[in-house]
């Protein structure tokens, strides 16, 4: 009955999983935007080998494309928000989508983050991953906008 509990789960060749902290995820989302947030949260999904996160990533990407398309070609849908937020609409929507993505993945990985909090193991340094994701995210947005413009013309 207990045999499955006494099967080793750790491997000498693979280091134990360490997740990027929620603090770094938040900052990448806030300053990097939704594409950077998707990439950065994807790193944690990859470390955890969670295949169930793939549909969430795809949904996030679809929302991002939809948002970009709507903002470029159907801005009238956001008239109410324009009245509320003025010219900050684009930035606000971008940030809120990014934070929503970050929040969603935190909810999916919440147990792992809570478990990590019980031990004093430090999370991996986020700097390189964060910068790469933010640069890549910016590039993706530029490419997406160019692609949408190209499709429209």
């Amino acid at each position: 009955m207990r045999e499955h509990l006494l099967t080793p789960s750790l491997s000498a060749s693979a280091a134990p999983v360490r997740l990027y902290s929620i603090q770094s995820s938040f900052l990448v989302a806030f300053f990097g935007g939704p594409a950077a947030s998707l990439l950065y949260c994807g790193l944690n999904s990859w470390r955890l080998r969670r295949l169930a996160d793939i549909p969430v990533h795809l949904a996030g990407a679809a929302l991002l494309v939809a948002l970009a398309y709507l903002l470029m070609y159907q801005p009238a849908r956001f008239d109410g928000l324009y009245q509320l937020l003025g010219n900050d609409v684009f930035r606000a929507l971008r940030t809120m989508l990014a934070l929503a993505i970050c929040g969603t993945f935190y909810a999916l990985h919440q147990k792992q983050h809570r478990s990590r909090a019980f031990f004093s193991d430090k999370p991996p340094s986020p700097w390189i991953a964060a910068i790469v994701c933010m640069v890549a995210g910016y590039s993706i947005m530029v490419g997406l906008v160019a692609a949408l413009k190209g499709m429209a013309s």
């Binding site: 006494l6 750790l10 000498a12 999983v17 938040f26 806030f30 937020l85 935190y106 147990k111 478990s115």
Partner: protein, 297 residues
Amino acid sequence: MNDQALLSARDYTVQIDGLIERGRYAQAGSLIGEALAHYPQDSGLLFAAARIDYDSGDADGARHTLHQILAHDPDHYLARSLMVNLLQDSGDLPAAELLLIDLLRAYPEAAFQYARYALLMYRTLHIDKAKALAREAYRLDPNNELALTTCLIGDIIDGRRGAEQAGLARLLQGHPESENTARMLITHLVGRGRYRAAKRIAVELLKLYPNSREVLELVVQLDALSHWSMLPLWPLNRWGWIASGGLYLITLLGLNLVRSQAPLFSSLATYTLIGYCLYSWIYPPLLTRWLKRRAGL
């Protein structure tokens, strides 16, 4: 030498264990040197020496002594158990896991070892397996402190408040004066945003272990969290990044409202919010650093 005055190895072990329990490592070290001069191969004394080394921070010395014991007696339970600690401390978690599994195969009713294995699995984010191991530890010995603790950790991770309360109550009932219980109570209170209450518990812990740097750091952290000047940051401390996201939204809507309805106060509102953001970033680490320095950390 007068043989009648010579203690038995067991008597030495009792004395040394007593000194270790009281944290008198220097005296224990002196006595172990004397004891090993008479009984150099006694595994009980060698284990006591390893414990002294481990508790005093000499991991290499402890490891060397444990290898010595296991070379003569590979099944020595206590030596293997302490070796698990050493392997975990050095980051060799796969080897620690293998050794724990060996111990559990040799002692299948050892609830304490199941609980330790559960902690290792929590640490390496194998949550489901950790919870199963914790349940097994609890099944084998419902009064075991570590078994209760690992079950409680599972409840906290799952966010099951009712079960968390019940688990905490069991721990308080069975082990009210344990340091471990105090720490779990502090975790519970901090999770609820009750920093002052958590600090009171930590202070009681400090009264028991005033020499513990870890406990002092905990008190300082909670002192910072419950400091009067941190009151405006209570929502951010309590709800973390959700509160930060909410603050962003409020900022956005609020600033635009002020700009449209009361443009005279627009600058003031902007600067207030910027000031609050800067204060939330800069002030907590400064306060913590100042409190740590004041505490001699």
